[in-house]
């Protein structure tokens, strides 16, 4: 699965994107983010507090309990601040 990181999340993880094979038993966005947080100290530094994060699945904003299904792309970022 393609993972994208933006703004402070990108800086914390130290990557703007990565491709990862995701375990079969990951059902929701929250499951996947919790698993990602265990992949490195850098991931943990910004992915642990899920309530401070926002998510887009295949470029649509979703909540943390959204089902991954066949999505190809998950983006993880802080609340948006455009305009």
């Amino acid at each position: 699965m393609k993972l994208l990181y933006f703004a402070s999340v990108r800086e914390g993880v130290g990557l703007s994107s990565e491709q990862r094979d995701v375990p079969e038993d990951m059902r929701t966005v929250g499951d996947l983010v919790a698993w990602l947080a265990g992949q490195s100290e850098e991931h943990a530094s910004v992915l642990t507090q899920q309530s401070r994060l926002r998510f887009a699945l295949d470029q649509n904003m979703v909540s943390v309990d959204a089902v991954l299904g066949n999505a190809q792309e998950l983006a993880i970022f802080p609340p948006v601040t455009g305009g």
């Binding site: 994208l4 703004a7 990108r10 470029q59 983006a75 609340p79 601040t81 455009g82 305009g83």
Partner: protein, 143 residues
């Protein structure tokens, strides 16, 4: 809908709305505020999703109000204090529609469009801007 890495001029962005035969043209321009030593802001975005999101905001406005046209133009990259970050505009036959659609577009853009702002200070430091609860409240008025 336009995302621009170069400076934007509100009058040029709004020009296409002036010639649609309507009686009302409303607009909002967001400008980089001189806020406690900020020299410039830097705008990051999510290419692909940003364009889709702004297009769907314009579509939602057009379904909700009787509009002749609407535009959203947003800067990315480094934007100095005093320069426009975003221009939204709406044209309609009568004023109520254009005024409300303009407020809707900027309120929703603030909470829905994947942009992130970092403030650069005169002393060389930088800081990510925090989202405001008041923006969520204003955006939810349109739900």
């Amino acid at each position: 809908m336009r995302i621009s890495a170069a400076p934007i001029q509100p009058a040029m962005e709004l020009a296409p709305l002036a010639g649609l035969g309507g009686g009302a043209l409303s607009s909002f321009t967001g400008i980089v505020r001189d806020d406690g030593g900020v020299a410039a802001i830097e705008l990051e975005h999510y290419p692909g999703m940003t364009e889709a999101c702004l297009s769907s905001l314009i579509e939602a406005a057009t379904e909700r109000w009787s509009l002749l046209g609407a535009i959203v133009t947003h800067r990315i990259g480094i934007v100095p204090v005093g320069a426009p970050v975003v221009v939204v505009g709406a044209a309609s036959l009568h004023r109520a529609e254009a005024l409300e659609a303009t407020a809707f577009l900027i309120d929703r853009l603030k909470t829905d469009a994947p942009f992130w702002k970092r403030e650069h200070y005169a002393d060389g430091t930088a800081k990510w801007v925090e989202a405001k609860a008041s923006d969520d409240a204003r955006s939810n008025r349109w739900a």
